[in-house]
């Protein structure tokens, strides 16, 4: 029996369905993805999981992208029964990014949110155990941010130009930007 291939739901269709149930939850809708209001993220995610039409029982993956002025948290949600997939984004503040945790909705988000917190510094409010996943606790900064280890004067980075070890630091730690007085 030929199996129908996965359908990618357009963001506008998702926004229509979501906007009808939760007015004000959608900030913008594009063909590829839908952008949610951070304040209503949890309610919108819970709706999309339990809605029979969107049926997003399966959290395919989540990650984050540093957009310089903001940090986007990206979710790919899917329904295995209806075989469709769609993309949801939620913007977070760049200096102090924080969004609601979806770990109470999907167990699969627990480790992935810890990963995003570790590497991008997004604090997930309501996560049962938000600690760093890969790096050690005292690691300065969040490496996947674009300003991590950037050089003074806006110089373009190149791996060889980075200070490998700062004086007074141990354990091969990198020095983040704005480490305080005395930083180059």
């Amino acid at each position: 029996m030929p199996h129908p291939a996965t359908v990618t739901l357009p963001g506008t269709a998702v926004a229509e369905r979501l906007g009808a149930a939760l007015p004000g939850a959608v900030r913008e809708a594009f063909a590829e993805h839908v952008v949610l209001e951070p304040a209503s993220l949890f309610a919108a995610m819970a709706f999309m999981r339990d809605d029979p039409e969107l049926d997003a029982k399966y959290l395919v993956q989540m990650c984050s992208v540093d957009m310089i002025t903001r940090i986007d948290v990206v979710y790919h949600l899917a329904s295995l029964a209806r075989n469709h997939i769609f993309e949801v984004k939620v913007p977070a503040d760049h200096e102090r990014p924080a969004v609601a945790s979806v770990a109470p909705l999907w167990i699969g988000a627990t480790l992935q949110e810890r990963e995003v917190y570790d590497l991008m510094g997004v604090a997930f409010e309501g996560h049962p155990e938000l600690t760093r996943l890969f790096l050690w606790d005292k690691f300065p900064g969040h490496p996947l941010r674009k300003d991590f280890m950037s050089l003074p004067g806006g110089q373009k980075s190149g791996l060889s130009q980075f200070p490998k070890q700062a004086p007074g630091q141990t354990g091969g730690e990198f020095r983040p930007r704005d480490a305080g007085a005395g930083a180059p």
């Binding site: 030929p2 199996h3 291939a5 996965t6 590829e32 029982k57 399966y58 959290l59 395919v60 993956q61 990650c63 992208v65 540093d66 990206v74 790919h76 295995l80 075989n83 997939i85 993309e87 999907w106 167990i107 699969g108 988000a109 627990t110 480790l111 992935q112 990963e115 590497l119 760093r132 996943l133 890969f134 790096l135 050690w136 490496p143 996947l144 991590f148 980075s157 190149g158 791996l159």
Partner: protein, 368 residues
């Protein structure tokens, strides 16, 4: 008289044969029972997602070898598919068939390793793993014949595959998939499927329910062991899988035994796919010319393949430059670990080891 016991914290790993790499499981045990499990990962973290932002799209392919180093071909393939989707590159027919063929060979190699290591964890110390390694070696010989490397193959390219297969490849593959491996798998099945000791060690150990499997985003044999027939090769076909005739083996109980049997059955299905690829393999170019410093248009793409561990996804964001703006890997090994506490708490510590072995994690992919 009740035996008085007090909780003890046991570190399993980071250097321990049962953790399959540098993975640490901190188990809190009360007597023989596991009461709490914490996992500590990151010993193999190489920050590939950050490094990739300073390398061209082609230069990033070797990173994908070193993620799941037991299944480098599917890692290569998943990454190349995502860049091709982003840049809108069409891949020649012959390359599609070669990609399918090598992905399936890689699945056989990876599942051989997983099955051997799992029986190892069950207590059959080192003998079964030698049987499965013998079979895996033959597959790796074919890889070496084609691309010169056995583990870190770096074979797929954006727009095709790096090299065409040599003349002696198809006869060797024909012997392998038609004569040698079917007999070897039968031998393996006779030894372990239905073996009383394996049954006692792995039946009802590390059970995942279908609801839990979907909720925890499990994929691959973990999801299928819970009875959900979900395989990216069928659900969202890539390459030429939509033309292939094969079955998705599923389990019933979601336990460790089911996962082992599913892997053995999948290897046989892989042989079926390889035979069809060999019969239909068209002539023609094996790759299209793609600029070395490829600049895909600004945008983003998510594409996924069924790696031996599960759904391997690549999310690539381009800003129009020669290097990816952001590159995220949906690592099945990491996400399959999400349910480790739920699976192991309440079991004995020996069963926790079997459970971890049946997940078939690859720490290179967990940590990236």
């Amino acid at each position: 008289m009740p035996i008085k016991s007090e909780p003890v914290e046991v570190n399993i790993g980071p250097q321990h044969p049962s953790t399959h790499g540098v993975f640490r499981m901190v188990a809190r045990i009360d007597g023989e029972r596991v009461t709490d499990v914490k996992m500590v990962v990151g010993y193999l973290h190489r920050s590939m997602e950050k490094l990739a932002e300073e390398r061209t799209y082609t230069q990033n392919i070797p990173f994908t070898d070193r993620m799941d180093y037991l299944a480098a071909m599917t890692g290569n393939l998943g990454y190349c598919l995502s860049v091709e989707k982003l840049a809108g590159i069409d891949v020649p027919e012959r390359a599609q068939y070669l990609r399918t063929m090598f992905s399936e060979l890689q699945r056989v190699a990876s599942h051989c390793m997983a099955t051997g290591a799992f029986i190892n964890d069950c207590g059959a110390w080192q003998t079964p793993v030698m049987y499965t390694f013998r079979d895996r070696e033959k597959v790796l010989d074919l890889f070496e014949m084609t691309c010169g490397a056995r583990i870190t193959t770096n074979y797929m390219r954006i727009g095709g595959v790096a090299f065409d297969i040599p003349d002696e490849f198809l006869p060797a593959l024909d012997w392998l998939v038609n004569d040698d491996l079917p007999a070897r798998f039968e031998e393996l099945e006779n030894l372990i499927v239905g073996n009383e000791i394996i049954l006692m060690r792995s039946r009802d150990v590390g059970v995942v329910t279908p609801e839990m499997a979907i909720n925890a985003s499990l994929s691959g044999p973990m999801l299928r062991s819970a009875g959900i027939a979900w395989d990216i090769r069928k659900a969202d076909p890539y390459c030429v899988y939509d033309r292939m005739n094969f079955e998705i083996p599923v389990g019933y109980n979601g336990d460790s035994y089911d996962r082992m049997v599913i892997r053995i059955e999948e290897m046989k299905q892989s042989l079926r796919i390889i035979r069809q690829c060999m019969a239909e393999l068209p002539d023609g170019p094996h790759k299209v010319d793609v600029p070395l410093a490829l600049r895909p248009p600004a945008g983003e793409a998510y594409s996924r393949v069924e790696s031996p561990k599960g759904e391997l996804g690549f999310y690539v964001v381009s800003d129009g430059g020669p290097a990816p703006y952001r590159w995220h890997v949906r690592a099945p090994s990491l996400i399959n670990l999400s349910v480790l506490p739920q699976m192991t708490i309440g079991q004995s510590i020996a069963d926790a080891i079997v459970t971890l072995g049946s997940i078939d994690i690859n720490v290179g992919e967990v940590d990236r």
